[in-house]
Amino acid sequence: MNKKFIRLITAIGALFCLVWIIGLGVTFKAYYANKPDKIPKVTKVPEAPKSKKELRIVALGDSLTRGTGDETGKGYVGDIVDEVKKKTKRPVLLINLGINGQTSSQLRQQVQQIEVGRQLQMADCILLTIGGNDLFRGGQGLQDYQTKQINVIEKHYLDNLKFILQQIRKNNQTANVFFIGLYNPFMDLAQGKEMAKVIRHWNYDSAEVSASFNKVVFVPTFDLFELKVNDYLYSDKFHPNTKGYRLIAERVASLLTW
């Protein structure tokens, strides 16, 4: 075998050995010696691309937006997207930002995120469900639905709702916002009637807040679940099932324009 060739390979090996040792040295330097960098945070919502082909639907909110309880995993949002796909030739893009168990305070935080703002800016249509977790708090709310506590909770919620809608409008003046109201999952329970009263009031106030904004449509669902509520509820007796979501979706779909 050629001696020169062996020398060359040896030299290349030695060279890389040196490079990797330098790499190891850089690691230590970067990891321990250097001061942390001041990395600028994005503070302004970056300008979204103006010309886009696709139709963007942004969904915000809680487990209803997520589709919890729907065996097909779509939820009313998925059903609406299917409807829209039938009506338009443009590609439809769904950005579902719903988070299970989200309350209005948490959504208030979420809509202030820069990227969420950018998504809202690009949206052609915005779907929103919020408030259920404020009011029911996973079932606990049942106990104090008639106390004064409920007024405090509602005031807080309405305040948040106003802020959220303002934030949406600030980012996007043109997209239609569909705000889906609450239904009464406890209709068949003993206190169902009293609970219904609270929810009607809650929905009324929500609708009032929505009406003060341009192109924000409050979509009632209370009546959909009023009769035969158990046919439309998932086994947790709280979230809608596939049929229940389809009811909500049908109602919203009939209102959709963009």
Partner: protein, 326 residues
């Protein structure tokens, strides 16, 4: 000394081991590139967009939702929480954690191969460096020369280090070259973050530093090299101790694979952190992934590996100079 090294290099090259390793790496990289390409394609098809911010935002929301499900193990929950926080940090600072291009592929490839794949390749060379001399009987020829025994072993060890350096270089060159055809050769300057600290409380972002990808890659390569040297030294020791190459390889292989398995389940066995095979994932510290056992840090892992390295080296030289050869 340099003659001895030349001699060892000659043997190494004559055995064509490096060529075999290059072919194995080449085939695997091609497979990974294709797999990655398909994954990106399906993801884009499913999400309907190429915009990384939209994709990352969706990931964050999806993971947050997974966190809300009950019946999840605490470690897994913590890991997801750290992931969400890190992704949010990237998003808030407008930095794409997976900038498209071959350099990112190289980074991911290194991060995934540091624990098992690269050590295996190193083993191919290291495990029979000494033992093959026994099995072929050539060790007598070597030891009858008027050269001190430790010099012979040192020349073998230096050859091993050179070979390890070459293997890392081959892995880097092949993964860049092959994936570049698919993902493009650019992207060396893309920004990337390091210095995330995983503590008991979650993710600490106070010490985060901004680097260019090429700097980050250099660091990754340095760590991969270090791990490869440690694993190489350990199998070198075994090849001195055990005459049978197959037995030495088997032991090393078992240790490496047990490391890969242990990594996923040692979180509550605290003293396992002194095993070398649990400490091989050094690149995870740079990327800010949670360590297998709470409280492990980069310097801890490196110290542990250094101890194993020093011990292996000592045993190798001690035994080789004392051993009776017949």
């Amino acid at each position: 000394m340099s003659k001895l090294i030349q001699n060892e290099m000659l043997k190494l090259i004559a055995k064509k081991r490096l060529v075999v390793i290059a072919i194995i790496i080449g085939v695997l990289v091609a497979l990974f590139t294709y797999a990655q390409y398909r994954q990106v394609q399906t993801q884009q098809e499913k999400l309907g967009t190429k915009d990384w911010r939209t994709i990352l935002q969706k990931q964050i929301v999806d993971t947050t939702n997974r966190l809300s499900s009950t019946g999840m193990s605490d470690e897994w929950r913590r890991e997801l929480q750290i992931m969400v926080k890190q992704e949010q940090y990237y998003l808030d600072h407008n930095i794409n954690p997976n900038a498209p291009g071959a350099p990112t592929f190289v980074r991911v490839f290194l991060e995934n191969s540091i624990g098992l794949f690269i050590p295996l390749m190193v083993m191919v060379i290291a495990s029979d460096l000494v033992s093959s001399e026994y099995s072929l009987g050539t060790v007598k020829l070597l030891l009858t020369r008027p050269v001190k025994r430790w010099k012979i072993l040192l020349s073998k060890y230096i050859t091993l280090i050179l070979a390890v350096s070459l293997i890392i270089a081959i892995a880097g060159a092949l993964s860049y070259g092959i994936s570049g055809f698919v993902f493009g050769f650019k992207g060396w300057g893309a920004p990337i973050l390091t210095g995330f600290n995983v503590t008991k409380a979650g993710l600490n972002t106070a010490n985060v530093k901004l680097l260019s990808l090429w700097e980050f890659l250099l660091m990754d390569f340095g760590l991969v090299w270090f791990v490869a040297v440690v694993v190489g030294t350990l199998s070198f020791m075994l090849s001195v101790l055990i005459r049978s190459t197959a037995a030495g390889m088997g032991i090393m292989l078992a240790a490496l694979i047990s490391g890969a398995i242990l990594n996923n389940m040692v979180s509550s066995w605290n003293s396992a952190k002194y095993l070398f095979m649990v400490n091989l994932q050094l690149t995870d510290y740079l990327a800010g992934n949670p360590p297998p056992i709470q409280g492990m840090t980069l310097s801890f892992s490196i110290t542990v590996l250094l101890f194993w390295w020093a011990a292996a080296l000592f045993v190798s030289f001690f035994v080789f100079t004392k051993k009776d050869v017949y």
